[in-house]
Amino acid sequence: MNPPPARSMMPSLILNTATRYLMPLLVTFSIFVLLRGHNLPGGGFIGGLIAAAAFVLYAIAHHVAAARRALPLDPLQLIALGLLTAVSSGILSIVAGEPFMTGLWSHDPWPVLGAPGTPLLFDIGVYLVVLGVALTIVFALAEE
């Protein structure tokens, strides 16, 4: 494999600086969208796409390697973790004696989250898979 070029794809000071501030905002916003999804427009799919857009922006402004470093996990690991989370949210209901993927709900409100249930866990899984898939493809293309 060729060594990745050291320079960023678009060497622009404005973009670099803006991205530094935009990126945390976008990621936070994506989590906000993920959490509000159950009652208002949003959800795991959209949240995952927004988060992916944030990291893609970072990769364009700086470099793919930098974007990879900014990620806590490898995109493929994100996919695996997401699938695992989604499946385990379904299996939880089997453990509770209900059919697969029956929604289980907490009766007492938690701080910030409200009264969450297994569908939220499932949605987090979707979020991680979408983020992982988008980044896997974009990074792979960008590194070519």
Partner: protein, 772 residues
Amino acid sequence: MTLLAVLSPFALAIVAPWLQRRLDRAAGWLLAALPAVLFIGFLNFALRHPAESHVFSWPWIPSLQIQLSFLLDGLSLLFALMITGIGALVLIYSGGYLAGHPHLGRFYVYLLMFMGSMLGVVLSNNVLSLFVFWELTSFSSYLLIGFYHDRQASRAAALQALLVTGAGGLALLAGVILLAFAGGSWELSELLARGDLVRGHPLLHATLVLILLGAFTKSAQFPFHFWLPAAMEAPAPVSTYLHSATMVKAGVYLLARLHPILGAAPRWQLYVGGCGALTMLVGAGLALLQVDIKRQLAYTTVSVLGALTFLLGLGGETAVTGAILYVLVHSLYKGALFLVGGNVDHAVDSRDVTRLRGLRRAMPITFVAALLAGLSMAGLPPFVGFISKELIYEALHAHDLSLLLAAVAVAANGCMFVVALLIGVRIFVGPPAATPREPHEAPPSMWLGPLALASLGLIFGLVPGLIEGRLIAPAVAAVGQLPATPAPHLALWHGFTPMLLLSAVTIAAGLLVFLGWDFLRARLNRLAPLGRLGPARWYEWVLQGVLGFAHLQTRILQSGSLPVYIATLIVVIILLVGGTLLEQVQIVRLANWNDIRFHELCIILTMMMAILTLVTTNSRLTAIAALGVVGYCVSLIFVLFGAPDLAITQFCIETLSVVLFVLVLYKLPRFQVFSRWPTRLAEAAIAVAFGLVVIGLMTLGMESDLGSPISEFYAANSYLQAHGRNIVNVILVDFRGVDTMGEITVLAIGALGVLALLKLRLDRDRPGKESS
């Protein structure tokens, strides 16, 4: 107990390789403990509840009325006893025969898997689970025949057996479904009581033919017999267990099992009896031409399977008793002889009957086993083989024995006699001949099996009462659905009867052929070229034809050009959907122009201009930007028509795809127009036609009344049942959560695919060139 019996071999199969590694030589003995325990369990059941039928059931897929249910009656008990009993001996034998083979652990896995599947076949009460186990036996047989996978012949034989029995299995599936529909039940125990219903069904003939195809392929009936001799590529324990004692009798089992239902069908006697008689004769005749011990035994097995089928086709109490007894007798002597053949092969590395002589001194115990089994196969008194042969003749006699059928039976039994003497006697007596290896006696693990099976042949012959009331009569009762009274009494001496005369003729003719066998075979071998026109050739032709057709259609459909693929897809959609739309031509009432608001019009016009730019531009970057404009406009439309979730998704996707496009663009060569104007014109026509079809589809969709839309259900239940107000999200993660799980799995696989395409570089070409 039945569920445990069927599942326990599978469970043991999982740990078998580990046990093999830990225990090495002792593993076979230990693994054999499971079938031995099951054997005792079944025997205990048979002795306690003779001639009763028991159904055990567990719910499996209740919504499809499929339950895991097992039927334990005389017939299934007899087969279960053979499967577990011979299975135990074969496991012990395998430990000796394949000692030191690097894949012995794997072999145990296959063998145990087969044992569980075969028990499933004979114990299943549900016809669908019977089919599933039936296919599992074909599958494990494939693995076992191909066990020596580094040999081309093994692989070809394994594939042949799988294709032939697998094709039959498909016919069987269709057959049992028809049967279940006709009889109104998936349970054999209920179907057995509804024979009239099935026989009165208009599709009776199709049902019969399909089921018979399944049974005939499995039990190697002519013209499907050729896979069985080829399957002799497998190691000796496999030939013993699968291809003589149990699996090939699955077809016979099915015929016996369904005899109460289909036995009185109009053409049963013609098809089953006719095919059986033909197979009996062909198998026995071909056996005489072979010089390889295993192939001789294989062809006689074909002949015996033919005889069994023939007897079941004939029907009547004597014939059925004859068939049931023969199933047992054949498993005993043929199992023993196959193991003897394995011992000889193992000891001297040759299976050529014409070369082997005088092995008696070096292999005394094997010789005793071979002699006992051979004499039983030859049908000499006082062996149980004699009783069984007499019963066959008696069945013919009871059916106004036609001279032709009697001649067929005598000829087949005569050939059997010859082969029995060749293997049981000739190779062991006389002065020792030179062999590739110095002969030596087999270890205990390898003579226990043949000796035990062969001795049982003698014991049952001397004391037929041991099996008559407890095993044979209940099985006959299950086949004939009669009260459990053994009609023909099993005994060695019946007095001077026509049957005794036929036996004498058989033995005399057999002796004559045996003495002149070398001479006769040399003459008959001149006819060998005729064999090249046999069914084995038909199989090759069909296989080549299918492969040729596959190559041809792949060449036509997989041109490798992306534009052609897309054009093909779209043209097909235009033709199918457009054609259907044209049939429903009606005056389409377009929306009222006054309803269209100004900003909507603006969006539409923007889209149109973007599209025009897209198709006329000479710059890739412009084209992609134009495509992005179209996408953003679509998401605006979603916003206007109250679908914010969809709009956000579309917006994000559009952004990411523009990024992706730009990344790809980066690598591409300069934009060039390769196509000439006629091609472009054709493409434009396709695009316009597709657009028209979509417009037609949408107006039709708006016009037609499809009843109350499902969205009302979601709107009403979203908050009450799923605690969420955003219907779209609730549908995604809750109501249709399993769909979403499938989708994210597909996404993940897609990402892996992209990664593999880009990173693997199977050939040196730089990837990313495929887009044009």
